[in-house]
């Protein structure tokens, strides 16, 4: 890499050809580089010869804005999410795109370019950096196969996807259920019936529901009030409950390509199914998650992070509004989403072996998301799809040591590209109690190691897998985690 060509205005029409071994970046009059920026950008390109573009964190009006790794989905809601972008002149020539073009990030996303994030503040701006307008995003949506347009979102300046009402792909909803009553004392209404009622209230066409019931089912599953939906009952084979096996049985039984795995202790908000399904029109997306709220409206799930090999739910207990500051309300790439509400393609899931029955209760969703990521598809969360989730209603959210051992053995330590490294918490024994607060950096220190989006399993320092694996314990055995963990 020879030089960084800083373009400062549209009047600067100098362009490079495919032989140019340089990098271009657009900084308007409202922006300026930090002293380390040019070196950091050129070093990133030097370290990663496969990189097409690089961006960093920015400071706007004195406020540092930390950013996640490259997320084509975030660009739909926040087109300036990675501006200013430093792009190889060769890449610009291949794309036929100018460095000043606000739609450049969308073009890079569409081309499947390798875009790196340097987790350090590289530039300061006195005002918001402009991004693509709604027309450009709508064109992009059409080109990548998403049947939606964008509308002004909340907060202002961000977009939200509005699915085409006429486009309702067929979806199979798979719900494993034990038939528990919402109120244990009167047993009047089952959780699964409330769930089905919420689905029916959406009045969506092209739906089928597959209910998985087993020996533990309390009552007669034939008596489930199906709220007028097309419900099929699948009986699980005898034996201890294995969430993954139940989901897999449902996936095999599903008749539609799009499948939605849903916990029976959820209530689906109107429009949530379409808000998720619309993303799967993009073949690069492999799984979509939703925003799950506790009954008190606080956040239970808004995408997951992995920190020190621990899958965690950020924003737990936060209000949706509070999570906005960290981008918690925009559709975006994440490393994993919860299996409590998980939409994907049946063919993809089957090709990957679906949920691993080695993880009957915990880690199965994160494991599947990592398999999807490594298959070349993306995993995203769409907060516009929201549900109520009574998480602790169905089971104690615990993780057993044998589950942890299996997890570490299979994936080791996976670095989460969408979790900013300055947010990593100190290694204190209470770290698992801090899920809701972990996003506040204590002493942020810029880092300059460029981050891509590849998922690479590496050995975890604990290496618990080296220990002999204990047999699968029954309920009540020792656990290592609590609510808020995956």
């Amino acid at each position: 890499m020879r030089f960084l060509h800083v373009v400062s205005s549209p009047a600067d029409t100098s362009s490079c050809d495919q032989d140019c071994d340089g990098v271009a970046i657009h900084l308007d009059g409202a922006g300026q580089f930090n002293e380390t920026a040019e070196r950091a950008i050129l070093d990133a390109f030097a370290q990663r010869p496969d990189a097409d573009a690089v961006y960093g964190d920015i400071e706007i009006g004195g406020t540092v804005r930390r950013r996640a790794a490259w997320s084509p989905t975030r660009l739909l809601a926040e087109p300036n999410a990675c501006a200013p972008l430093a792009v190889r002149c060769k890449t610009l020539a291949e794309l036929g795109c100018g460095i000043i073009d606000p739609a450049l990030p969308l073009r890079l996303a569409q081309a499947g370019s390798v875009v790196l994030h340097v987790p350090a503040v590289l530039s300061k701006h006195s005002q918001e950096v402009p991004g693509a307008d709604s027309a450009a995003v709508n064109t992009h949506l059409e080109e990548i196969g998403i049947a939606a347009t964008v509308a002004e979102g909340d907060p202002a300046g961000r977009f939200r996807l509005v699915p085409e009402p006429s486009h309702q792909p067929s979806v199979s909803i798979i719900i494993p259920t034990a038939g528990k009553a919402l109120n244990e004392h009167d047993g009047s209404e089952l959780a699964v019936e409330r769930c089905l009622t919420s689905i029916a209230a959406d009045a969506r066409r092209n739906l089928e529901v597959v209910l998985l019931v087993g020996e533990e089912y309390q009552g007669d599953p034939e008596q489930i009030a199906d709220a007028g939906l097309a419900v099929r009952l699948e009986r699980r084979p005898p034996g201890p409950f294995n969430f993954s096996a139940a989901c897999n049985q449902g996936i095999l039984a599903a008749r539609n390509e799009l499948v939605l795995l849903l916990n029976d202790d959820t209530e689906v908000d109107t429009g949530a199914i379409d808000a998720m399904a619309v993303h799967l029109g993009d073949p690069s997306i492999g799984a979509v998650g939703a925003l799950l709220r506790y009954p008190d409206h606080s956040i239970q799930h808004a995408g997951m992070i992995i920190d020190d090999a621990h899958p965690l739910h950020p924003f737990v207990g936060w209000s949706v509004e509070d999570s906005q500051r960290f981008g918690g309300t925009v559709a975006r790439d994440v490393i994993a989403v919860t299996g409590a509400c998980f939409m994907s393609r049946r063919s993809l899931l089957l090709s990957l072996g679906a949920f691993s029955i080695d993880f009957p209760w915990s880690f199965n969703d994160v494991d599947l998301c990592l398999k999807i990521r490594r298959s070349g598809r993306r995993v995203i969360v769409e907060p516009n799809a929201s549900l109520e989730h009574r998480e602790s209603f169905t089971r104690e959210p615990r993780i057993f040591e044998w589950e942890w051992n299996r997890w570490i053995s299979r994936w080791g330590e996976v670095t989460d590209p969408w979790y900013h490294p300055v947010y990593h918490r100190p290694d204190d024994p209470e770290r698992l109690q801090l899920n809701a607060n972990h996003l506040e950096p204590a002493e942020p220190v810029d880092q300059y190691e460029p981050r891509g989006t590849a998922i690479t399993p590496r050995v975890h320092h604990a290496r618990l897998a080296a220990k002999p694996e204990s047999p699968v314990p029954q309920n009540g055995d020792e656990s290592i985690k609590r609510r808020g963990s995956a």
Partner: protein, 134 residues
């Protein structure tokens, strides 16, 4: 009203002719295969980590060995020098002992000669006369 279907369990999939069980087994094997791939990567990373540690240990041992050898060489040199000095001192000591013996013999001979001297005798007689000695 929901329609119903059922699945039977089998202890060994190879003896199972139920298509649903076999499909579940295919899923399990696909998952297992992917799990082995990622587990292999974890192990490969562990191998790299161990190789790095091994190289670091090898380097540390080499440094220690080199330092120890240097110290041993220095001590050997010192020892050789001390042995040489010791030999020289022993030789000097032998020579001094020999000289001492010779001087003692000379001294003894001188004493005998003195006792025989007439002047000594006269001197002793004078001393006795004047009761200078008992």
């Amino acid at each position: 009203m929901p329609q119903e279907s059922s699945t039977a369990a089998s202890p060994d999939p190879i003896d199972n002719t139920d298509p649903r069980d076999l499909r579940m087994e295919i899923l399990r094997l696909r998952d297992h295969s992917l799990g082995l791939v990622s587990h292999a990567e974890v192990l490969a990373d562990r191998v790299v980590e161990l190789e790095t540690q091994n190289n670091e240990l090898h380097e540390a041992f080499t440094n220690i060995s080199r330092t120890a050898q240097r110290t041993i060489d220095e001590l050997t040199q010192t020892n050789t020098a001390l042995t040489q000095t010791n030999t020289a001192l022993t030789q000097t000591n032998t020579e001094l002992t020999q000289t001492n013996t010779e001087l003692n013999e000379v001294n003894q001979a001188l004493r005998v000669e003195l006792n025989r001297s007439p002047l000594i005798r006269i001197a002793r007689g004078v001393a006795r006369r004047f009761k200078l000695v008992q």
